[in-house]
């Protein structure tokens, strides 16, 4: 259903990796001609998820893809970590819920900023978050 046109992987293991990662996502978004508002939403969502990965799982691997569905192009981001996993995803997706000392906006906020959002987690094994932002969505 989706055709992957271009792909890049980045390992995230320290906080200094966040800014270069955001810049890489921006490059991809600019390349497909995404509007500035959608770019900003995508990069903000990416920043939230990559920070989560660092904070709760000491990092992980991210994949940036340009994808196409019919006539629509978009960016798909995948965040894979081998952290402790999330026991109650429903609870984690609620605004204001945090097991750390943050605002608890990361996951629900990132979902609101995305066109499509999916999270899978197994306790003790890790978490994978996938999001799509369509160029015009």
């Amino acid at each position: 259903m989706y055709i992957v046109l271009n792909k890049d992987r980045m390992v995230i293991e320290k906080e200094q990796d966040v800014v270069p990662y955001r810049n890489r996502v921006k490059e991809f978004a600019v390349k497909i001609g995404m509007s500035l508002v959608n770019q900003t939403k995508l990069i903000t969502a990416a920043s939230e998820l990559v920070r989560n990965m660092l904070k709760y799982a000491n990092g992980g691997v991210t994949t940036i893809e340009v994808i196409s569905k019919g006539r629509e192009n978009g960016i798909r981001l995948i965040f894979e970590d081998k952290g402790p996993g999330i026991a109650d995803i429903k609870l984690a997706m609620k605004d204001g819920f945090s097991t750390g000392k943050s605002l608890g906006l990361g996951l629900p906020g990132a979902k609101r900023l995305s066109s499509e959002f999916d999270i899978k987690s197994t306790v003790g094994k890790g978490t994978t978050v996938t999001l799509i932002k369509w160029k015009n969505g």
Binding site: V18, R22, K26, T44, L105, P108, R112, L113
Partner: protein
């Protein structure tokens, strides 16, 4: 270590954030600013974020903390110059930047700070 410069202008402190903040830089800024408020007795803090292309919940929290701590230290905080796309994104993210004032640009931010301080100073006379 990287630091963001803090300028003193009369009763106010001015900070222009021109690079995308990473965590340690943001945390240094928070502690530097609070110490400057304490040392100089500044009544207002003006933070210019016009060069920031994104503000995520981490940065929002740092800005909120600066506002809250400054408030306890008797200084008002104004955030100025937010890009329209950043404002739209912040609201969708669910971040309201409580505890800080906002203004469109540096000039209006300065005006706002002056008004706030004037109002505070004139209050005791009214009672």
């Amino acid at each position: 270590m990287d630091r963001i410069p803090i300028l003193r202008m009369g009763n106010f402190l001015l900070v222009t954030i021109q690079v995308d903040l990473y965590d340690r830089l943001a945390q240094n800024l928070e502690s530097d600013l609070v110490q400057m408020v304490s040392k100089t007795g500044a009544r207002g803090v003006l933070i210019d974020i016009s060069a920031l292309s994104i503000v995520d919940s981490f940065m929002g929290r740092i800005i909120g903390n600066i506002g809250s701590v400054s408030k306890i230290m008797d200084a008002e905080t104004v955030v100025v110059g937010m890009q329209p796309a950043v404002a739209i994104t912040l609201i969708e993210l669910g971040l309201e930047l409580k505890g800080v004032h906002t203004a469109l640009n540096v000039e209006r931010g300065m005006q706002l700070l002056k008004e706030k301080i004037l109002i505070e100073e004139s209050e005791p006379d009214e009672e």
